[in-house]
Amino acid sequence: MQKIYESSARLLPEKLTIYTTLVGLLNARNYNFGGEFVEAMIRQLKESLKANSYNEAVYLVRFLSDLVNCHVIAAPSMVAMFENFVSVTQEEDVPQVRRDWYVYAFLSSLPWVGKELYEKKDAEMDRIFANTESYLKRRQKTHVPMLQVWTAEKPHPQEEYLDCLWAQIQKLKKDRWQERHILRPYLAFDSILCEALQHNLPPFTPPPHTEDSVYPMPRVIFRMFDYTDDPEGPVMPGSHSVERFVIEENLHCIIKSHWKERNTCAAQLVSYPGKNKIPLNYHIVEVIFAELFQLPAPPHIDVMYTTLLIELCKLQPGSLPQVLAQATEMLYMRLDTMNTTCVDRFINWFSHHLSNFQFRWSWEDWSDCLTQDPDSPKPKFVKEVLEKCMRLSYHQRILDIVPPTFSTLCPANPTCIYKYGDESSNSLPGHSVALCLAVAFKSKATSDEIFSILKDVPNPNQDDDDDEGFSFNPLKIEVFVQTLLHLAAKSFSHSFSALAKFHEVFKTLAESDEGKLHVLRVMFEVWRNHPQMIAVLVDKMIRTQIVDCAAVANWIFSSELSRDFIRLFVWEILHSTIRKMNKHVLKIQKELDEAKEKLARQHKRRSDDDDRSSDRKDGALEEQIERLQEKVESAQSEQKNLFLVIFQRFIMILTEHLVRCETDGTSILTPWYKNCIERLQQIFLQHHQIIQQYMVTLENLLFTAELDPHILAVFQQFCALQA
């Protein structure tokens, strides 16, 4: 029994008051049960805090608070616990995010238990409030701009989460703790419960801060709707009402409980108790987009939200699609101030969503974007959406679904561009070799045969004095890569087979760093109409070690890509590259850890058995561990280098832009600049755990005080996130 309630507290937090009522009734019957239960919850709370499961811990604290309402826990002892929580704000030399969490745990329990605690211990509560208020006034909020979905304050300010919660609790206090939204089953059992003997919480000391402690990141509250958006339905609670907090908390909890089961999740959301008194569909849509657009990352995989919204449309076909369309329209209207990472997610969501509904949309409503600078947010958004829609269907379909006026925003037909293909290419250097290669490829030549054809290709770079045996021959790379990719253009599988079959040739031609860069350049020239093909080829080339991650990073920042620099596919490639690097490091670290464990087990067995033959086995394993250790160090070094290259290149191009604008006297805030600076932010945010390791290097080497303050600000905001 106990185990169930403990699990329910953690796993179904939206049903909290039902379980607390049950515990209350059991405690009224059996005082010892209540005592054991509370003890177990406290133990679990301590464990959650030590295990960095802070979200779980919040629910446990809330559960304990509600047990006060059910006469299981004596109010004064709960107040004492909250006193200890808020006293963490006095701790020195700890991260702000630690102090933040304890304040959050206190404040977020008050909608449930504020009334009871104030009735019993108002003087103490006032003191705790005063301490909380002074903390909130003095804490740093440098991190906020990095986490906001929109930079604009209108129509809804993007408030820092603690500020918003404080305002909501203040209002609740002013309203004398009258809170009508939470279902309180225990009120119906008051006559039984008030007879129960209460328990005192043992004094609770917050576990001390350790090096391994990782606290939740700060958040910004996402708001897109208010009561004006649904004039005909029930009134939406205001942004500083505690009802708004409780509804959003519960809806988030439902998603957290049922994210794996999309039909259950959708059913639970639409059957939220009290739904007739609130515009539930608006709350649901707002909460889902809040998660999808959350920075640094959504709590669950992006595609879950797309499918959940589709399920909701199926469950409420008469009402939800309209709200969703209204939301889409609002998001489109506010693209100018939306964070680039959030725009990416909006693009991916909207295109995937449309593909489930025959791409039906009232594109003419968005004709305003046709007259704007094509690099500005609205036309760029439409272009990217259409490109993604094409990937899920085919080129002609896209031309058919948009009005003719939108044809300028339609993606290019994803065809291959072969430079040696027509008669005018006769004069191009290497043309005859290209033809020769084409014949060879078609007659199923081997790598050796290809090598011998390429042997006679002159090196245009060899005019320079070079006595180092220059191996980089751009012309060889050009004719080989152009011809091979052109012949394999039919499908991804064909291209992958080509890469595999002639892997040896690729490796040889791309041995040097310049070689790797040139392979990427030529590949891009062939496939510049087909960004999806570019992405899969880069992925394959990294995985088969034809190019390395640093080469891809340098290629992305090269002048050849400057025209496409703000296009989404470029950043998808860069982030995918960084992720591959990260996964590679983790994989080798895991191998090393496993080998070390194996050795430890062998040692233990040896001391148990006194077996001398395992000395030999030890040697082999120790050698393996040494090799793996080297591999790990080398991989970590490569990983650090990748990030340094990326940051260095960002600093270079941003500085160039800022200097140019200063000398020209123009505004720095061009669409390109906004995009670029937010892409830099995105690198920090998406890979923050790994970049934390490089803070000292970054501070001393790259993000120094001499840097332009606009660029330095991004770094400082990032530092503030876990400060």
Binding site: K3, E261, V303, T307, Y394, S491, S493, D539
Partner: protein, 178 residues
């Protein structure tokens, strides 16, 4: 009762195995007259261990079977959709055994199981090329499994169906020949 409720709290039904088992699945073992019996040849002896082995493989598989595709759906479209749950290792298009053209199914292999699970949770039952597609666990691609097993060369389901499906060659083969 307690384990049932706890189980319900951890439910993950979209990831569970379906009822379907590949009837051609065989574990490689020595044949009746010595030498190895080919795993995919239905003429070899069937052993109860095959079902057990198939289930074991299904439960740790990173490969999904994808069905109800249009004959015109391309590898690129499948890549785009299924990449939403993770990095794809390989896609193998299902082909008509005679014509060697797409016949409406494929295999999608991921690098890690968790990505395949997310595909089962969020891509299964949604649309590709306007058709609701269905994904199911597969024990792993073996050469030969990319071909339809229907008598006319396509999938078995296209042999017997009575309806008209423009994306899958019109009427079913049997209905066509009537």
């Amino acid at each position: 009762m307690s384990s049932g409720l706890l189980k319900a709290l951890r439910s993950d039904s979209y990831v569970e195995l379906s009822q379907y088992r590949d009837q051609h699945f065989r574990v490689r073992r020595a044949g009746p007259r010595g030498g190895e019996a080919l795993a995919q040849n239905p003429a070899t002896w069937f052993s109860p261990g095959d079902n057990e082995e198939q289930e074991k493989l299904l439960k740790k598989s990173c490969t999904l079977y994808v069905g109800n595709l249009s004959f015109y759906t391309t590898e690129e479209q499948i890549y785009e959709l299924f990449s939403k749950s993770g990095d794809i290792k390989k896609i193998i298009m299902g082909l008509d055994k005679m014509k060697k053209t797409a016949c409406g199914f494929c295999f999608v292999e991921y690098y890690i199981r968790a990505d395949a699970e997310n595909a089962m949770r969020y891509i299964n039952g949604t649309r590709l090329d306007d058709r609701i597609i269905r994904t199911d666990w597969d024990a792993g691609f073996k050469e030969g499994r990319q071909y339809g097993r229907g008598r006319s060369g396509g999938q078995v389901r296209d042999e017997y169906r009575q309806d008209y499906d423009a994306g899958r060659g019109g009427y079913g083969k049997l209905a066509q020949n009537q």
